[in-house]
């Protein structure tokens, strides 16, 4: 557990992040479980090969059996033997707006998750702990919905063109000015899809002869953008500033690999909140390093915009830093604003360059007008410009919910990863059978959770990820916590060996460490 202070007073508030180590017995038993499943996987593959069992997954055609095999690697083995057994916890069909409560279609499988049939029943009012609905703007009634409906009748649903041809509406210009004002930067540009914002704009910013330093656990869109750009990529350990500094020093001292020329540009790719770990980037230290070694910073605030900071302006405001220090501020409108799309903010020259050279501006359709109106209305609500204090109340409600939920889960004895202030709460499950069991048991108790397993996380560190929302009331959180406690006792998930003494009502800061018992 990290305290502040040993880095020259860069932090103005305590930075409490913890990743408790996996208990040895749990790790061994997890490997035992995976070993048993692997053996049974080999048995089932053998039976499928020799036609003892009907083969229900994709295989090559008869004529292609002599070609290079397509489905022999570990990912496909994992998919047909392990993922299929617990597949009913994912891709669940919902049939209402995914707000704080959601309705879901019930489905059953008669052949062990290879096919599903709907029973016809709708499970109503499931507490939704899986949607990225941080500020609760996923609503079907309210000011955002009315404004979006009006714009829909005025502008229609589709734009049918790219930004550079005929798709640049006045709504887009209004949105971009608003986003620039919200973030505190000179100028901003909005794109139709969050993933495309990263993957199409990083190639426009860096190219061959540049260096990208990217965090270990960066999102697939950042990795794809970095690979498409053709620059050299080096990875530093997750949130580890010593590793980043070492890479920067080596880059400046040794230059490019064979020719020893200096790098044209060094770009550091980090995210505001990492959605699988719940950790927050050490932004003050990254900015200090960036200034010392004269490199550029690309900050992906997909999960942290709207969710952190006293007025919801993201991780830069959370740490009390200057937005002009971050060269490229990227974010998405999908999570906190209840819409779709992404934006990039920065200096005017940068954004003007991107308007001409970004792949997304030239080839991708621009944002749809009702979506733009939803973003404008929700952003004005957060900033307080619509005349009410609803936005501020939501930001504060989210912060309270986060602190309360995390504290209660830690007191119960679960292993929770990540920073104290992040609304993404990963609860460690470790064993493969518990992944399926947790998802099913929580659904039986009317709570919808997202469980995550192998390809998204390391193989033994599977987890259940709760996303808190400002729309969750305290009663909903209490119900959810009661059920999580019950399921935790039933499945034996309380692995934590640091038992916290239950606090009364003090916020969790560095003076409460004396109360931790080992």
């Amino acid at each position: 557990i990290n305290h502040i202070v040993h880095n020259g007073g860069l932090y103005k508030r305590p930075f409490n992040e913890a990743f408790e180590e996996t208990p040895m017995l749990v790790a061994v038993l997890t490997y035992v479980g995976y070993g048993v499943l692997t053996l049974f996987g080999y048995l089932r593959d053998f039976m499928r090969q020799w036609k003892i069992e009907k083969c229900q997954n994709a295989t090559e055609r008869e004529e292609q059996k002599d070609f290079v095999p397509l489905y022999q690697d570990f990912e496909n083995f994992y998919n047909r033997n392990l993922y299929m057994r617990i597949r009913d916890s994912w891709n669940r069909p919902i049939c209402s707006v995914p707000g704080a409560k959601v309705d879901m279609m019930e489905r059953v499988s008669h052949d062990y998750n290879w096919t599903f049939t709907y029973t016809g029943r709708v499970i109503k009012d499931i507490i939704n702990m899986g949607s990225y609905n941080y500020l609760g703007f996923a609503q079907k009634a309210g000011t955002c919905q009315e404004a979006a409906a009006k714009v829909l009748s005025q502008y229609g649903a589709g734009v049918c063109s790219t930004r550079q041809e005929m798709g640049n509406l006045d709504k887009h210009e209004e949105l971009e000015k608003l986003v620039a004002r919200f973030l505190g930067v000179e100028s901003a540009m909005a794109y139709g899809m969050g993933f495309a914002t990263n993957s199409m704009n990083i190639p426009a910013l860096v190219g061959k002869g540049c260096l990208i330093l990217s965090d270990e656990l960066n999102h697939a869109s950042l990795v794809l953008g970095a690979r498409l750009s053709g620059a050299t990529i080096r990875i530093f350990k997750h949130n580890n500033m010593q590793s980043l500094e070492k890479l920067l020093k080596d880059a400046i001292v040794h230059g490019q690999p064979r020719t020893r020329r200096p790098w044209k540009k060094i770009l550091i790719l980090v995210e505001g909140i990492y959605s699988m770990e719940g950790s927050i980037v050490r932004l003050p230290e990254v900015i200090a390093l960036k200034k010392k070694y004269k490199s550029y910073l690309y900050l992906d605030e997909a999960h942290s915009i709207g969710a952190l900071g006293p007025s919801g302006r993201g991780v830069v405001e959370y740490f009390g830093l200057n937005p002009e220090d971050v060269d490229v501020m990227m974010g998405t409108f999908t999570k906190s604003f209840g819409a779709a799309g992404g934006y990039i903010g920065g200096k005017k020259e940068l954004i003007d360059y991107l308007r001409t050279y970004s792949h997304s501006a030239v080839y991708a359709t621009s944002l749809s007008p009702p979506v733009v109106e939803q973003i404008i209305t929700s952003m004005k609500c957060i900033m307080g410009e619509d005349g009410t204090t609803v936005g501020k109340a939501r930001v504060q409600q989210l912060a309270e919910n986060t602190r309360y939920f995390r504290r209660r889960l830690k007191e119960m004895g679960f292993i929770i990863y990540g920073n104290e202030d992040s609304p993404v709460v990963p609860l460690m499950l470790y064993m493969p059978a518990k992944i399926g069991a947790f998802g099913r048991e929580m659904l039986k108790r009317n709570i919808g959770v997202v469980v995550v397993g192998f390809p998204a996380t390391p193989i033994i560190e599977s987890r259940a990820r709760f996303c808190l929302s400002a729309a969750h009331t305290k009663e909903m959180l209490d119900t959810a916590l009661k059920e999580i406690n019950e399921v935790g006792d039933l499945l034996q998930l309380k692995y934590s060996r640091h038992r916290l003494v239950p606090l009364l009502d003090r916020p969790f800061d560095e003076t409460t460490y004396e109360e931790t018992e080992d």
């Binding site: 038993l29 479980g33 062990y112 059978a433 069991a437």
Partner: protein, 80 residues
């Protein structure tokens, strides 16, 4: 009342075993195969223990007795 809570506890232990060895996820015939294999192995281990452990313990006991017994006779002859 005690029997009921004992039965519940044993059922809960069985559930934990199922979760840890992932037999919770297996189809019924896979479970049958897995449990048959495990129970056969356990029965073989216990049978081997039943046959060989008394023999091993008594041999070891005699070995140590012989070691200490020789010393005892030596000291006795010296005292005499």
């Amino acid at each position: 009342m005690d029997i009921k809570s004992m039965k519940n506890y044993l059922y809960w232990l069985y559930c934990q075993f199922e979760l840890i060895t992932c037999s919770y996820l297996m189809e019924p015939w896979e479970k049958l195969l897995f449990y048959t294999f495990n129970i056969t192995m356990l029965v073989m281990v216990f049978y081997t223990a039943y046959i060989f452990v008394p023999v091993h313990i008594s041999t070891a006991f005699q070995f140590f007795l012989h070691l200490l017994g020789n010393q005892h006779e030596n000291t006795v002859s010296v005292l005499k």
